[in-house]
């Protein structure tokens, strides 16, 4: 059962542009939604996370938008830089749970 669906699979953006990655979830019991950044050969690094009591969270150039009624959340990378080139995973977990359910990942390439 694919609990978290992520799109697109990959995207290319010019330096200074906006990268947008979307995720949708099925289980309304999910109440914690983190985003992870992964560079080749490295472990996922926690980037930013949101809980459903807020609709938006911003940390530097990274913003999560959350739509509870649509069961969707997205990551916006503003002013994208070549160093942002990585694979981004959305994930979700629930209060009664111990595990993160990951999306399939989005490979972002920022062209200089």
């Amino acid at each position: 059962q694919q609990q978290v669906k992520q799109s697109p699979q990959s995207l290319i953006v010019q330096k200074g542009g906006i990268s947008i990655i979307n995720c949708a979830y099925e289980n309304t019991a999910f109440d914690y939604f983190p985003w992870y950044q992964q560079f080749p050969g490295k472990g996922p690094a926690l980037l930013i996370a949101i809980r459903p009591d807020v609709s938006e969270k911003k940390e530097g150039r990274f913003t999560i938008s959350f739509n509870k009624s649509a069961k969707q959340f997205s990551l916006h990378i503003m002013d994208s830089q070549p160093g942002d080139s990585a694979t981004y995973f959305c994930a979700a977990s629930m209060r009664s749970d111990y595990k993160l359910s990951f999306g399939a990942g989005t490979t972002v390439t920022v062209r200089a």
Binding site: G43, F89, M94, Y98, K99, L100
Partner: protein, 113 residues
């Protein structure tokens, strides 16, 4: 900044052999996890561990797998008889609380030949 560490970074083993992957979680964290990532695929949950016992495990975590916290700092994943399909990156993670930020280690690449 505290971080999760894992050893070895790469392990090559023959099919049928036992392997032990080691992790040192962040020191004040109480919840520990193993995930795996087959090349090009998404990260999959294997098992969580709290208070010296398994809290939750996935269907992947069958009788060939076991976890242990042998001392106050290490957390291990043992695969008793490795199969070709066990080849993957194995990530250890830890968190301060359940349903809270999980921090991942750099991973151990397991290659079963």
């Amino acid at each position: 900044e505290p971080e999760v560490t894992q050893t070895p970074s790469h392990q090559v083993t023959q099919m049928g052999q036992e392997v032990i992957l080691r992790c040192v979680p962040i020191s004040n964290h109480l919840y520990f996890y193993w995930y795996r990532q087959i090349l090009g695929q998404k990260v999959e949950f294997l098992v969580s561990f709290y208070n010296n016992e398994i809290s939750e495990k996935s269907e992947i975590f069958d009788d060939q797998f076991s976890v242990e916290r042998p001392d106050g700092s290490n957390f291990t994943l043992k695969i008793r008889s490795t199969k070709l399909e066990d080849s993957a990156m194995y990530f250890c993670a830890s968190s301060e609380q359940r349903n809270y930020e999980q921090y991942f280690g750099p991973g151990t690449r397991l290659t079963v030949t």
